[in-house]
């Protein structure tokens, strides 16, 4: 009788006791692979009590969130206005995504569309990470349209394809960043996502966008987990003269969020941007922590926007990510990053289609100002150009 067996038995029993699932269990071999060394499941355990008991934010127990004022005001950079960015985005998208558009058009341009041709269209869309469901829908719609309207002309076929893609991306959705608070309080933007999607970079760039719009900003470095994340954010802030509120490494992210909004209210700024630590949506402890960050912030001011950062290279898992984050913190917008690679970012089509959460910004490139507002028509045009 192994421990594992017991565990499974108990898990089964719990579900039985609770919800009443019927279970099928079969016997099997007794030899289990050697146990791996003991590890802790998530860092919520490690952080222990301090994360659970929120200290009075006004009197921080540890060194406390220090606010770093920008050093020399004279050396501040002047971020580029976001309006000019779309042009660059288009040029870049055309370069990186041209292959998708070209592939499709060369197929549609054929005189007859046989099954092999349709399969090719399907494969091309799948290769853009659009996912099986969205692709199937698009292809069957397009097929019907072409047949019903008797379209054989490549140009018309292209227009039909464009219409289908635009319909999937849905230009009617509101894609503006809700960055104005009510009652004179600042707008609070919470940035969330899994590890390594570029949250901190996005927060930094978003700060520049807002500064370029002549808004005052405070950054909250609620990523207290990853080594040097707060430094990274502070570096971004210093470049444009935006103060960063940070806490001790390993401290409670909720208290940092709280502090930064408090500071934002005290300074009378327009927007508080809160960066959070990357977390996989499968870690329930960390997701709870995120829920807490939002709840605690809302004691100061309502969170006006929750942005989920998704990497353009992400595959079908992006959908699960969006769903789980949506459940925990009610995601209101998506930032699609790293679109300058070869990745097509088709997953956002699937995400939007399933969850109705619009893409609001697109991040590309290494530059500090490589964040542009998302535009459905432009996006699709770029796909097809």
């Amino acid at each position: 009788m192994t421990t594992t067996a017991l565990i499974i038995v108990i898990a089964a029993a719990v579900v039985l006791l609770g919800g009443g699932a019927a279970l099928v269990l079969t016997r099997s071999r007794r030899q289990l692979p050697p146990a791996p060394q003991t590890r802790q499941i998530d860092r919520a355990d490690e952080a222990g009590e301090p994360t659970l008991i929120s200290p009075d934010p006004e009197v921080p127990a540890e060194p406390g969130p220090a606010v770093d004022e920008p050093s020399a005001v004279g050396t501040l950079e002047r971020p580029e206005a976001p309006q000019g960015r779309l042009v660059r985005l288009r040029a870049r998208l055309a370069k990186s995504q041209g292959s998708l558009g070209r592939g499709l058009l060369s197929v549609l341009g054929r005189s007859t569309l046989d099954d092999a041709a349709w399969e090719e269209i399907e494969d091309t869309l799948l290769a853009a990470d659009m996912g099986v469901t969205a692709t199937d829908e698009l292809v069957s719609n397009l097929r019907t349209t072409l047949r019903v309207e008797g379209i054989t002309d490549p140009d018309q076929a292209k227009a039909a394809l464009r219409a289908e893609l635009v319909r999937l991306v849905d230009p009617t959705l509101d894609r503006t960043l809700t960055s104005t608070g009510t009652d004179g309080k600042p707008g609070v933007v919470l940035v969330v996502g899994v590890n390594g999607t570029g949250k901190t970079t996005t927060v930094g760039r978003l700060a520049r966008v807002l500064v370029a719009d002549d808004k005052t900003v405070v950054l909250g470095a609620a990523d207290t987990f990853r080594a040097a994340a707060a430094d990274q954010l502070q570096t971004w802030g210093e470049r444009v003269g935006v103060p960063t509120v940070r806490g001790p490494e390993g401290g409670d992210p909720a208290s940092v969020g709280f502090e930064s909004v408090q500071r934002g209210i005290a300074d009378g700024v327009d927007v508080v941007l809160v960066d959070t630590a990357g977390r996989l949506h499968t870690k329930s402890g960390l997701m709870d922590e995120l829920g807490k960050v939002k709840r605690v912030i809302e004691k100061q001011a309502p969170v006006t926007e929750v942005l989920l950062v998704i990497d353009a290279t992400t595959g079908q898992n992006g959908l699960t990510q969006a769903r789980v984050f949506g459940e925990v913190v009610d995601v209101t917008g998506i930032v699609l990053t790293k679109l300058d690679g070869t990745a097509k970012g088709g997953i956002v089509i699937a995400v939007q289609r399933e969850l109705g959460v619009p893409v609001k910004y697109v991040g590309l490139g290494e530059g500090a100002d490589d964040l542009a507002p998302f535009d459905a028509d432009e996006f699709v045009d770029a796909l097809l150009s």
């Binding site: 609770g18 071999r29 791996p36 003991t38 590890r39 990470d129 290279t313 079908q316 690679g341 290494e366």
Partner: protein, 511 residues
């Protein structure tokens, strides 16, 4: 999570049941299902196409077996093929004969290179090496600081002559790092490079320059398990740019199915050497092709479950409880402890999802509300120690008190107590039955070997039959028409031999 390939194939094969042999038409019929499953797992389109072609060939070939039902047979073929491709030649790190071994890390931004450098450092240290990390990522703000912190956590020397943030020449840093390692007698040098895109010619050139300058013994391509179709393009670009010798798959602790592993392996032919499965520096392991195959096919990951369990459980306590369980003296207190340990592993529905074969009960499991666990806990905690030890003493007035104390209804307490007795009985049966549930149709489990294979086959056939009857059974259960006394009969299921047994559906009616 529960919509597994197995379920889909089984429904696709509904009409073929009893045939026991695969015809060309059968295989064509399920090819699409396999294709969808692989695409959903983010396996690249071109790889899927080749893969399906191979499967068709193999399924039609001589390996046709009459002992499996068609769905299981196809899955077995797919699974075997996946393991074969993913596994291929697995190999260890090649250490240099003279002088320090140089390991270079390369990959996209955010793949997890810097974190991996720390993990690798710690792992090498545990292998008795003396590693040194070189901070050649001078691009990302504070990447150097991050490496320093990570190195400190791992207790590994970090060589970081440049502050980074866009300042300094990474090629020079890498070369100097190598010299420094020679001087300070470190025998392994891990060079962390900046994240770069495959199409960024300038940065790829820089990576190639670093490679040329330090002449690494291993170039590890670090790739995120969540990556989608782009994996192929990226892998090709990096293969051309830095000619990597091995692949590391990161963020496997998420629930991405990681089809990229298959894409990269089959396109580049380079072996996947390591898997990184968490945020801690110790969450780093050799790559297990069999587990990956199961994961790509979404077949339920028993081993992950076991690993998670090992982490969450106090083995001694569990062993004690197991004994108690066998002896029938398992109390509510023990149950509470174990339940708490399990809930540390994540949501109950997720854990159940990891147990293979649960797919058929996905509705029930999905409907399971994790708050039920809290409710159960509250009820148990509202009992006196004596009541927990011997729930039989719980009479009417005790029930009323417990329900008040836990903020529940008396019927909830009744239900829990009744179900506890039933469950205890069931657990005892299961425990005597010999252990953990295994999975017919999951032939790739390591340790299964040939020994188990022979035994399993007849069992698998049974499973097919059992499943066939199931929707009807389930419907009956759902409509609540099943008479209760049947439940009592079903409890007396035989626990001998290799018979798979089924928990009575009526059990859930009791609730």
């Amino acid at each position: 999570m529960f919509d597994t390939l197995q379920d889909r194939l089984q429904s696709a094969f509904k009409n073929l049941r009893g045939k026991g042999r695969l015809s060309e038409a059968d295989i064509d019929a399920v090819a699409r299902e396999i294709r969808v499953a692989l695409l959903d797992a983010d396996v690249a389109v071109s790889v899927v196409r080749d893969f399906i072609a191979r499967i068709k060939e193999r399924a039609l070939g001589a390996e046709v077996s009459q002992s499996l039902n068609p769905a299981q047979q196809v899955i077995k073929i797919v699974n075997d093929e996946l393991i074969q491709i993913l596994g291929g030649e697995t190999r260890r790190i090649r250490y240099a004969k003279n002088g320090p071994t140089v390991i270079m890390l390369a990959g996209l931004q955010g793949a997890g290179k810097t974190t991996l450098a720390g993990k690798l450092g710690l792992w090498l240290k545990e292998q008795g090496k003396s590693p040194m990390l070189v901070a050649a990522d001078l691009q990302r703000p504070n990447a150097v600081t991050q490496l320093q912190v990570v190195g400190e956590q791992a207790g590994v020397t970090v060589y970081a002559p440049q502050p980074g943030n866009g300042v300094g020449d990474p090629v020079q840093v890498a070369t100097a790092g190598l010299a420094e390692a020679r001087r300070t007698l470190h025998d392994v040098v891990v060079v962390d490079t900046a994240g770069r895109l495959g199409i960024d010619a300038e940065l790829m050139q820089q990576a190639a320059d670093i490679r040329a300058a330090v002449d690494p013994d291993e170039v590890l391509f670090v790739i995120d398990a969540m990556i989608g179709q782009d994996a192929v393009v990226t892998a090709e670009a990096f293969l051309e740019g830095v000619d990597f010798t091995g692949v590391v798959l990161t963020k496997l602790d998420g629930d991405a199915r990681g089809g990229a592993a298959l894409s990269v392996r089959s396109i580049t032919g380079r072996p996947i050497m390591f898997a990184s499965t968490g945020e801690k520096l110790t969450d780093f392991d050799a790559f297990h092709p069999d587990r990956m195959a199961g994961r790509i096919l979404d077949m339920g990951d028993m081993l992950t479950l076991i690993e998670q369990a090992e982490k969450a459980f106090d083995a001694e306590q569990a062993a004690k409880d197991a004994e108690k369980l066998m002896g029938g003296s398992f109390t509510l207190d023990d149950f509470l402890k174990q339940m708490e340990a399990i809930s540390k592993m994540g949501s109950m529905s997720k854990i159940m999802g990891l147990i293979p074969g649960m797919g058929q009960y996905k509705e029930q499991i999905e409907n399971f509300d994790d708050r039920e666990v809290d409710k159960i806990k509250a009820i148990i905690l509202s009992m006196t120690p004596a009541e927990r030890d011997n729930p039989k003493i719980i009479d009417g007035s005790r029930r009323a008190r417990i329900s008040k104390g836990s903020g529940t209804q008396v019927k909830d307490v009744n239900g829990l107590v009744d179900r506890f007795f039933d469950a205890r009985k069931m657990m005892q049966q299961m425990a005597k039955g010999g252990g953990m549930p295994g999975m017919p149709g999951m032939p790739g489990l390591p340790g299964a070997g040939k020994r188990a294979g022979a035994k399993q086959k007849p069992q698998q056939k049974k499973k097919g039959k059992r499943v066939s009857g199931n929707p009807a059974k389930r419907a009956a259960a759902a409509s609540g028409t099943a008479p209760k006394d049947e439940g009592a009969n079903a409890f007396g299921f035989p626990a001998q031999g290799d018979q798979p047994f089924e928990l009575p559906k009526e059990l859930k009616d009791l609730m």
